[in-house]
Symmetry: C2
Subunit: 423 residues, 2 copies
């Protein structure tokens, strides 16, 4: 049990195994655990499904894992209010399914949604495919119920769709990777998302033309629900026949009606080598869904996660190809083109074997590239332990100092997920 809760999905290994794993069922039990942890100065690692890709939920010697997966009730869905009240262990897809019964959706859809928890999504501010149009987790969180390091419990935010009383503590907890408090309840926004009208898959001769097509959508006043870009290496990994149609594939889905769909098709046709449009999205989205499994067949995947200004997307992908060549490691790149969020997936040797140094060097070059292009080292996965060294370079000393002061204010004894999220 303790060994099973030691790792997340990053491949990063802490020293030793945790002291204990707690499975609270109520906020009061969480309060009790944190009160005792504060007294004994024991580090606590909150955990949802353990799918983090950064080491954020990894737990080593001397820690208590606070596994929230059994606090998994959807307490209430209030369709007329557009609001859901949930415990932190609710699985993301289950909330969306439950909302669907009322014609509503829970918009943030990380690729891990079939297993990830709402608490983990909140603590990492998870993004997803339809986030370019409908927002990331932050945009769906109206209020939180949080247990502080001291064991005290506060509510932040509200149960209304709008409100500005007080500072935005809700936003401060979102994305804080379990270092400021433990989320024991959340009030979430549900939206009436329209059904997608059209799905379009367009192949282009090169990444530059594909990226330009995705930018041209915005200039035509079209905001797609999703715009996924697959590079040459990814297409080759999935199926060389797919690559034969063009070196870059852009899959776009719109939900604004047939007129918008027709205009999107027109925009995307420019420069495309082949273009397919279908009202049945599954067939066209298949390539995107097959990407990660296909890359995993090549070896152990390190899933990176930078974001760049949208206009630098093509440049980023091309530079990543150069980095792959320089370090002689295969890198397959997927991108959420709509928001410039690029996932270079480094194939880091064989499964089960140590990660080669060249893979780490390639990752460092990718982070440096992100900052050079005016971007960030993490678009949606977070800092965890793997990117701590890069945080100072991105934020600067003064801002990082402020971060540490905020951390000290919320967690004076440093018991909440120490060594994570902050450099």
């Amino acid at each position: 049990m303790r060994a099973e809760r030691r790792l997340d999905r990053s491949g990063w290994e802490p020293d030793g195994i945790p002291e204990a794993v707690a499975f609270p069922r109520t906020p009061e039990e969480v309060q009790q655990i944190l009160r005792e942890a504060t007294l004994s100065r024991t580090p606590v690692v909150p955990r949802g499904a353990g799918t983090a890709l950064t080491g954020a939920s990894a737990a080593g010697t001397g820690t208590i894992v606070l596994d929230l997966s059994r606090m998994d009730r959807i307490v209430e869905i209030r369709p007329a209010d557009g609001v859901a009240i949930v415990e932190p262990g609710v699985v993301t897809a289950e909330l969306d399914r439950a909302a669907g019964a009322y014609g509503l959706s829970y918009a943030p859809d990380p690729a891990s949604l079939a297993v990830s928890t709402i608490g983990g999504n909140i603590a990492t501010n998870a993004g997803g495919l339809r986030c370019a149009k409908y927002g990331v987790t932050r945009d769906a969180v109206l209020g939180l119920d949080v247990v502080l390091a001291s064991g005290e419990r506060i509510s932040t935010g509200r149960a209304t769709l709008k409100g500005v009383a007080g500072y935005d503590l809700t936003g401060l907890f979102v994305g804080s990777e379990g270092t400021l408090g433990v989320v024991v309840g959340a009030t979430l926004r549900l939206r009436p998302l329209p059904e997608p009208t059209a799905t379009i898959a367009a192949s282009y001769p090169d990444i530059t033309t594909a990226a330009a097509a995705s930018v041209a959508l915005a200039e035509a006043r079209i905001q797609p629900v999703l715009a996924e870009l697959l590079d040459e290496a990814t297409l080759n990994a999935i199926d060389p026949a797919l690559r034969a149609a063009g070196a870059a594939l852009l899959i776009v889905q719109t939900d604004g009606g047939p007129d918008e769909a027709a205009r999107a098709l027109e925009v995307l046709t420019k420069g495309a080598t082949t273009i397919r449009s279908a009202t049945d999205p599954a067939s066209l989205l298949a390539a995107r869904r097959q990407a990660l499994p296909a890359i995993e067949r090549l070896g152990r995947p390190l899933i990176e996660d930078i974001a760049v200004p949208r206009s630098r997307l093509a440049e980023a992908v091309r530079e990543i190809e150069t980095i792959a060549a320089r370090h002689e490691v295969p890198i397959c790149t997927l991108a959420h083109a709509g928001d410039g969020n690029v996932h270079p997936i480094i194939v880091a040797g064989r499964h089960g074997e140590p990660i080669p140094a060249s893979a780490h060097r390639a990752a460092d070059d990718i982070f440096a590239l992100a900052l050079r292009l005016g971007g960030t080292v993490t678009g949606e996965h977070g800092i965890g332990v793997l990117k701590k060294a890069w945080l100072r370079r991105e934020l600067g000393d003064l801002s990082l100092d402020l971060h540490h002061q905020i951390k000290a204010l919320f967690d004076p004894h440093g018991i909440l997920n120490p060594g994570k999220a902050l450099a």
Copy 2:
């Protein structure tokens, strides 16, 4: 000059007039002013256009007004990135106009947009008509350039549409009413908003039927761009003929194409006494635009601003009618129905005369009502000085203490807009 910068649009009067008004042109000048203010412990009141409705930008004896209206350059619009970089004094409508040249919009549209500044919008987290669908100011702010009380300057957030490195300091500054730092630059998100497809104005026999119609839209998977509700008192103030068509008017605009527009019309027709639909929105929106001027003809308006869960909208409006009768003050109510944000406008005696005590008692009853219905005392205008007493009741002691600790961390000598936003 000093007397002109003493008041905002709330009617609240501070003691005395400010010591001085500064009109910085550069971030460096702001830094210099704050450095000196810290040394001399002089309170500084940041100011944009002074349109706050809460006393937030009012300035009395011993203060320096830091008027940012001359830092009004749109530094850059990057259409391909969907981003604008602006100084704080840029007028909201001007940014939206400039973005329009590229097929983009700056979504947050407070009714004051023709004069309010981006800095003031950020410091109050301003909302607006199309915010139910496209988000409030918070959702449009990607990064900030902020001068701290010490005179130091930090950047928060980023220039990309997505990113999760570090805590959400951007969100912490948004809505902080000038009490945590002075915004000297902002990186904002621009979106390709579709043109509205249809505008529908529906009259209902009573507020309950009208509110139910607006909730029914969500159940039909329709999210209108705007959904404005006008109550009986408001309709009477504008034109008794308008009232004759029904005691409540709901004006809805959609932008999802003709199919969605047709479905919206069908939903809204249920229970309506009269319904009009037009592709020319101006004529149907006229009633909403005339509302405030019409109410001002009745006397001095106190514009309140609560938000309630959407399902309690009708109850809120009916209770407000009871409060008006109890205190014998006219109250006209407008609501952004899509997000439950209700603006009861208390007609508080004649212009230029003192506000009668009954108006203040009615306001207090309205705030108590908001909390009783599970809502908030401010949906978009903020706390300022007028609602400070209510903040503790909404947040609770523990949360308010945390607020004060955060304030002390950012502004240890309490020079930034003291006496505002926090109880």
